[in-house]
Every structure is written in C-alpha cells, then in structure tokens.
Amino acid sequence: MSTAAKMATGNVTGKSAWHKYVFTGAVILLCLWVLVPIYLLLVNTFSSPEDVSGFPKSFIPNIDTGSVEFFLNYAGVGQALWSSIKVATVTMILSIMAGAPAGYALSRFEFRGKETFRVLVLMTRAFPLPLLALPLAVMYLRIGLDDTVLGLALVHTMLALPFAVLITFSLFSGIPVELEEAAWTLGCNRFQAFVKVILPLVLPGITASAIFAFVISWNEVFAAAVLTIENRTLPAFLLQGLGNAPLHLKFAGGAVLVLPALLFIFLVRKYLFSMWGIANR
C-alpha cells in the first residue's frame, strides 16, 4: 500500500516502516554529527597528555584533570571571560538599537537612496579587519578609546550591523502594514502602534538577531587582539596561544572556549528557533 493510499484511508501516522527508519536514522546521524566531536573534545580534555597522543584510545577516559586545572589557574582567564561577556553584551545592545530602526525604515518607508543604503550596509563587511585595524588602532589611541570595552564593542557592532539590519528588515516586512494601519484607525499614534502591535510580533526575531550579534562578537579575534591589551576577550586571549600549544592543552582550551558558548545557546535556544519560525507555529 502506498503512502498516499495509507493517508487516504485515514492512517494517523501516515508513514511506512521504511519512512520511519530513514527518519530515525537521519535524526541519529545528525545527533552523532554534533555530539561525537564534542564527546571527543571532552574525553581528551579529561585525559592525561600521554593518553591524548596515545593510540588506540579508550572510549571512557581515565579522568585526569591536569589540563583543565591548568586553565583554571591560568592567569587572566576569568577576567578575559568577563571582558568577552561585557563586549558581547554591549555589541548586542548597540547593534539592535541601531539595526532595528534601520530595518524598520527599510521595510516601511520609501526614500531616496534606499537601494544604495542597503548595499552600503553590506559594504562594511567588504573590508578585511586586518586592513582596518591599523588606522582604527591609531585613532583609538589618540581619542582614548584604546583598550576599552566600548571601543571594541563599536568595532564588533560594525561587524554585526549588516546582519541586524537585514534580519530585522525581513521581520518587519513579514508583518502586514495593515495591522499598523488598523491600530492607527483605533486611535494609536505611530509610536504606540509600533510598541503595542508590531513589537510583540517581532520580539522573538529581534532577540534572535541580538543573539547573532552576541555570537559574532564572541568569535571575533583579530580586532580584539589589536585593540585591547589588558581587557582582552577570551578568544583573543586564548586562541592565539592555543594554535601552537601541545595537543592536550589544545583540547582543554577548546573545551574552555566551547562550553560558555554551548551554555549560552542552550539558554537562548527558544529564541534561535523563533528566528527560523519554528516556535511561532
């Protein structure tokens, strides 16, 4: 009996056994795709240096916390983590404050140079950071923004802004202007209509684009390495030293870098799903 026929006869599951196997198989495969590298990372993090380069590997490690302890005692990790969180948070706020109004304007208003503006927003990503870093650093040193959370956050905002503008643009475009017009006819002014009608609808999407800005800032290394010295962010602080480090420290350092990001994504996953439109259904 074909699937279509089954569905026609009112079979609730509507799926053949074969279909189910493929589906389950794909789910398992995707899960393994993500989980196996993380598992290996963690196993090697908690192994002694000899076990890390040894072969064959045992599936369950003999717990050795030497590598992890090294990072917990490594001077400045805590401070770098704190700097990272501060910079990423400021970046998140700035890019939404600048990006959301721009996205709204692009979707609701016709104005001269609109298309040029849209291209220009993207242009900020056209220049490689190593090229921009030198003049930026000179300017920052002269005006006193050097080695500050705000200074670095401004650069990261510039990197995150195109995404914030384009994501919010499509969010606002997805909401019929008639809803706003209805609110106006019922006595709202433009601002009230926005706050009471539009904002609740786009809030999950805005949160998602804020998270995106957070992640961009979290992952950026070059500008952070040039523009900050004492207030270095975690990736700038660790990543450069890890590339050349012995294998067991690479794994432990990798775990130190991955875990906060995983934790963060786990906390905000609901909003990330909403960016893909799943939670709204």
Binding site: A137, I229, G241
Partner: protein, 422 residues
Amino acid sequence: MMVKKSLMSLALAAGLTTLGAGAASADVLFWSTQGNTVEESQAMRDQVLAGFESGADFQPSDTGPWITRIEAELQAGSGKIGVLGSLHGSLISLGDGLADLSDVNTDGVNSTFLELGKLGTDQQKYIPWMQATYIMAANKKALEHLPEGADVMALSYDQLIEWAKNMADATGSPKFGFPAGPKGLKHRFFQGYLYPSYTNSMVSKFRSPEAEEAWNKFKELWSYTNPGSTNFSFMQEPLLTEEVWVAFDHTARLADAFNQRPDDFIGFPAPAGPTGRGFMPVVVGMAVPSSAPDMAQAKELIAYLSQPETQIATLKATNFFPVVDVELPDDMPAAVKLSGAAIAAMSGAADANPGLLPVGLGDLGGKFNAVYVDSFERIVLAGQDVRAVLDDQADTLRKLMEEAGAPCWAPDADSEGACPVE
C-alpha cells in the same frame, strides 16, 4: 633575595636609578611574539617576570596583531607597550621606531648577535634575548634501521635518505616527517640547511648546478617522507603519535615530545652535504619602541632579562637558549638536555657551516621566504622541472635582493652592494 640584590646592583650599574619612579608607575607591558603558547606564557609570568621588582606584564600575540598594534602605537606617538620581544626579522621592519639601547649593560651577551641587533645602524636597536635553532629528532625505534656504518650524530644527506628508505621498507609506511604544513618552518630548512650544505650559499648560488643537485636529493628524500607532512606544523605531535619516527624542526617545536617521553626520543644534528653541515641559529631580540610610556623602566626590564639567572629561567620557560655566557645547571628539562646535546654536536662539528637569518631585507623577508617555499611547492609537490623552476625563482630572488639592496650574509661571501644571484 639573591635575585633582588643582583637586580639592584645591575640597575645601578646600568645607570638606571629610577627604581623609585618605576615602582610608582604601572607594570611594563612586554609585547612578544615568542613564548605565545599558553604553557610558555604562564611560565614566563610565573617563573621569569615575577622576579622583576617594578612589575611586568607579559602579553604574547601572533605576529599579525603584534605588528599592527605596535605600528599603531608608533603612529599615534603614544601607547602602552614598554618592551617588544620578537624575531630578528620582525624587529627589522620596525627599524626607525626603535629606541637606541646603547646605554643598557650588555656584558657577556654574544657579540655576533649584538652586532645583528644594530640592524646596520650605529645604534643598538635591539638586544638579543634568546636563541634557538633547528635540529633533528628521532624515536629510538628508528635507530635499528640506520644504514650500516652511519653515526646518527654525524649523518650525511645520503645516509638520511637511505635511513628514511629503510624505515619505509621495514614498516610499510614512510616514517620521515618534515614540517611542510601551513605554519611549518620549511623555508628555514631550505635556506639554512639544504642550500648551505650543498652550495655553501643561501642566495648567490640559488640556481647553480649544485642547487639543482640539492633539490633532486630532497625530492628523493620526499619520496620516503610521510605524505601527512604537508599538514605538519609542529613535529612534536606526529612524533608523539608515532606517525613519524624521524623529523626535522625548530627546537621549541620538538620540546613537548622530548619532555613528555624523554626516554623514547633522541635529538641529533642536521645532516651534512658536500659543503658542510649547514645550520641556522635563530635570534630573538628585545627592543623598546620610541612610544614606550616609561623608557627607563623598559630598559630596566631588558637589563633584568639579560642576567644569567633570568636567562636560565627563560630557557626553562620557553625552551629558547641563553644568549649570554652561562653555566647550565643540572636540573634542566629533558628537552633542554636532548636538544642541547644535538646543538653542541652540530655547532661543534668539524664540518659545521652556520648561516644567518636573512639580514637587511626589512619587510621583504616574507617575500624572500616565499621564493623558497614556492620552489619547494613547484619542484617537490607539483613535480615541475628543477632547472626551469630555479631559473624562474632566481629572477624573483634577484629583483628582491636589488630592491632591498641587502649585501650578502653568511654563508655567502661578502658583497659590494646587493647580494648577487649568479
């Protein structure tokens, strides 16, 4: 207490009596491209700089951000960086921005390196900080496959090739490893080891028949080389996983293998060719940028780092060797003992033929390296005709030397004007 006392006397001797002022201001920021692995920077802070009285903050960085940052501070005319630590080649490109360090006490510092530190001017632009070189390392399992009559401490290139062949035949997989990965230091092998050993030159005999022979020998060696080599940047890792048994690399990039399993590995000199045993010492220097916030305190830190005790602590922390005359104590890490023995055998060999790092190329150093890396990729990886590639690359090299106007350096004979490519 000893350290404190000698520090005081040294600071006085150097005429830098600003300890009072130094203590009041912030830590000296030491901005370095060396010691930038997490382990090494931790050791630099805890074991080396902790003894500096006015306080110092060690911040390592990759070369890209390192140079961008200091260039920005020099342009802005002010900044946070007190002392720079980097390779000879990176410091050259900052030439004009470096303060004169002639008034820092340099008693006991290697005079050849001090001369290099003048960067061709009459000012002391940098003071040597530490040195390293490239050696060979082998798993002891490999020794039974040595060709008959070969002494591992005095190999020739032919013997090395035969050894690599024996290992490949016996184990079924190539066991010689070469750091040809993206971050590997392969160009130094061609510049400082292969060329001097076959042509007694690094530049002027670039396209000579002897050079052709050298490349053909290397091609032969490559056929018994682990194909994973194009991914290897630090040979300590494949040595530890036993993917390779014999390897060439920088001493600091072999240190982890020696330290983790000192009883399983040996260090030994690079092989010799018809014109001797070519090898290349690497110099790391300390400099003070003209934008330093506290010049006196920065010079004090340099004087502190040049002391024999500090140099030994630095050796333990970074696996780079002292540049001042010191007696090494017995409690050294395994890597220091193993590579120290290899270096002693290499530099003390009757046929030793040391070559210098490129001198006077300024910011063309990267292009200079590219000539050798491109030749390697075209001849060995792409299998192009050796003669044609050498003729082609020689043109690039000649233009580059003329643009830089750099005279020859060892092992090439001195030249009037730019070093010629014959």
